[in-house]
Amino acid sequence: MDKYEVVRDQSKQWFQDWQGARSLAARTKFEALQHLDAHLIQFAKLMESRGTQVHWAASDRDARDIILGILRDQKARVVVKSKTMTSEEIHLNPALRRAGYEVVESDLGEYIVQLRHEPPYHLVFPAMHLTRGEIKEVFEQELHDAPSDDPADLTMVARRTLRKKFLQADVGITGANFAIADTGMISITENEGNARLTAALPRTLITLVGIEKILPRLEDLALFLPMLATMGTGQHLTCYNSLYAGPRQPGETDGPVNFHVILLDNQRTLLLADAEQRDALGCIRCGACLNVCPVFRNIGGHAYGTVYGGPIGSVITPHLRELQDWKHLSFASSLCGACSETCPVKIDLHHHLLQNRSNAAAPPNGRPQFLQQLAFRTFGFVASHPALWTIAGKLGRLAQTAHKLVQAGPLDPLRTWTKTRVAPRLARQSFRAWFKERQP
C-alpha cells in the first residue's frame, strides 16, 4: 500500500490540473446519468447494428438466467472469465458451477482466490491479503505445481494453466469498465492481457455491464482511462485498454462469432431515484476510497460480507440490497471525509454515509424498538439531573458487581450485548467528587 500511495501521487502530478480533471469527470458522469435512458438506447442500437445481441436484465436472477440460457444454446463446457465485480454481485460463479460448467477466473489475483474458494478481498487487488507462502500452498494443493514461493515462478505456473483454459474455453465472460454510448463500444482496462484473450479466443463472448457504466462519448475515455489507472494502481495507463464494438465482422481474422451484452439494472434504478445520492452511480470502481479510508485500511475485505467494499460499498450496498440489513456499514465510519477528498469522480461519499444513517433511522421502518427508546429516554433523564446522575454512578458500580454473576449467561437480560463485549468498570470516584476534594 505504501508503494501504491507513492505512485498514485506521482501519477496525479502528471496531470496539469488533477482537481480540474476530477470536476470534469464528475460533470461527465452527471450528464451520463441525467440522460441515461437515451444513452442506453443509443448504445444498444449501435451494438445491435453490428450483430451483437443486447439483453436487458432487471434483476440478478434475470442476468443469471440469460447467461445460463446462452451457455445451454452453445452447448458450452468450459467458461473462462476475466475480472468482473458485477458477476460477483449476481453470484454468477456458484450458479454456473451448480449447472455443471467449469468456470475459470483468468485474472491472476481472482484465480488465486478462486482456488481458495473465496470471494475477492479488494475491488482492484483481489488477493492482496495473501502472502506468497499461502499462494504457494494453494497452488500445491490445487494444481500440484509450485516450484517455489517466488512470485515470478508462481505466475508462470498460473500462466501455463490458464493458457490451456483459454484454448479450451467455449465461452468467455467479461465485465466492462465503460460502455460508450455514441459509438456502441465496450471498454475494458487491465494489466495482464487476460481480458483481451477472454474476448478474442472463445467462440462466444458475454459481457456483463451495469447500466451505470455508460459514458456519452468515445473521447471521454481520454479523461477516464488515465484517471482510472492513476487512482486504481498508480499507473499512467493500464497495460491493456481494449475496445469491443461487436463480434467478428466479415473479413476479420478472429474474435467471437457470437457476442452478447447484458445490461444489468439490479436495483441501480433505485439509487438513481435518490437524487441526493445519485452521484454514487458515477463510481468507476478504482478502489481509491477504500485505500485511503482509516477504517478499511485496518479492517478490510471479507469482514463485511459485501461485494463492493470500502466507503463506496457502504454507500451503495444499502441501496442495492436492503437498507435495514446493511445500515450498519454506514455506521462503521469516522466520517473523516478522506474518501470524498480522494474520489476521482467527486462522489460525496461521507455525506452519503451520514444520509444513509438518517434514512435508516427514519420512520416507518427505522423506528427504534420500544426497549431501545425506553433505555435512551431513561439515560437522557438521568443524565440531565445531577443528583440522579451521582446516585446512578454509585449504584452502577454495585450493579456491575452483581451483574458479573450472570454475565452472558441465560439469566443475563443484556446477554445479546454482553456475550461479545465487556463494559469498562465504573470508576470508584467520580470526576466531580475528585475535583471537589482538591479545592483548597
Partner: protein, 180 residues
C-alpha cells in the same frame, strides 16, 4: 412489458427526481479536457522523445531504426538472442517479406488461424495505428494488427511503426479511432 421497457421506464421515473449539478453541467469540451490532462507536445521530435521516455518506463524495449535494412538486422538480432523457432504476423507490405527472413517458421493470421499453433509461437509481429506520445502506448485495431489475439497470445509482441504515426495524446488517438 419486456425487460428493456421495464428498465427504461424505471430510469425515466427515477430521473423525475431532479439532481442538482454540484460540479457544473454540460459535457466537457475538448479545450477543457486539454487544460487538465497531462501535456502533449505538438512537434514530432518532442513527441518521439516523450514517446520513447514513456514507453521505456512501461518496460518496452524501444528501438529507433532509420531504414528497412536496419530494421531487419535489429529483428534478426532479437530472433537469434531469443532463439525464435515459430513466429506469427499478418500480411502487410512491410511485414510479409520481413518475417520470412528471420530464420523462423511463420504463421500468418490473415483469414483465420489455429489457436493452438498461435499459442506455440515465440513472438508476434504487428503494425499499429498510432503511437501515443503522452502515454508511451500503442494504438492497435483488428485491421492494423492481424486480429485480436496476435498482439497478446504469443509471449513477445513486436510493433513496427513509423514516426509519421505519432499522435500527441489519447484525445487524438480516440479521434483517429472514430474516423476508422
Amino acid at each position: 412489458m419486456n425487460s428493456r421497457e421495464t428498465i427504461l421506464a424505471r430510469i425515466r421515473e427515477a430521473l423525475l427526481q431532479k439532481a442538482v449539478p454540484r460540479h457544473g453541467s454540460g459535457l466537457p469540451s475538448l479545450i477543457e479536457r486539454h487544460s487538465v490532462l497531462p501535456l502533449a507536445p505538438t512537434a514530432t521530435e518532442t513527441q518521439l522523445a516523450l514517446f520513447a521516455e514513456n514507453a521505456v518506463e512501461l518496460k518496452t524495449d524501444f528501438r529507433y531504426v532509420s531504414d528497412d535494412t536496419q530494421l531487419l538486422s535489429q529483428l534478426k538480432t532479437i530472433a537469434t538472442e531469443e532463439n525464435w523457432r515459430l513466429i506469427s504476423t499478418h500480411r502487410s507490405a512491410r511485414l510479409s517479406t520481413l518475417a520470412t527472413q528471420l530464420g523462423a517458421n511463420v504463421v500468418f493470421t490473415d483469414g483465420g488461424y489455429d489457436k493452438d499453433e498461435l499459442e506455440r509461437c515465440d513472438a508476434g509481429i504487428t503494425e499499429c495505428d498510432a503511437l501515443v506520445a503522452q502515454t508511451g502506448s500503442v494504438l492497435l485495431t483488428n485491421r492494423s494488427a492481424g486480429g485480436r489475439a496476435l498482439s497478446c497470445l504469443p509471449p513477445h509482441h513486436i510493433v513496427v511503426a513509423s514516426t509519421s504515426q505519432l499522435v500527441p495524446d489519447l484525445s487524438s488517438a480516440m479521434e483517429l479511432l472514430r474516423e476508422k
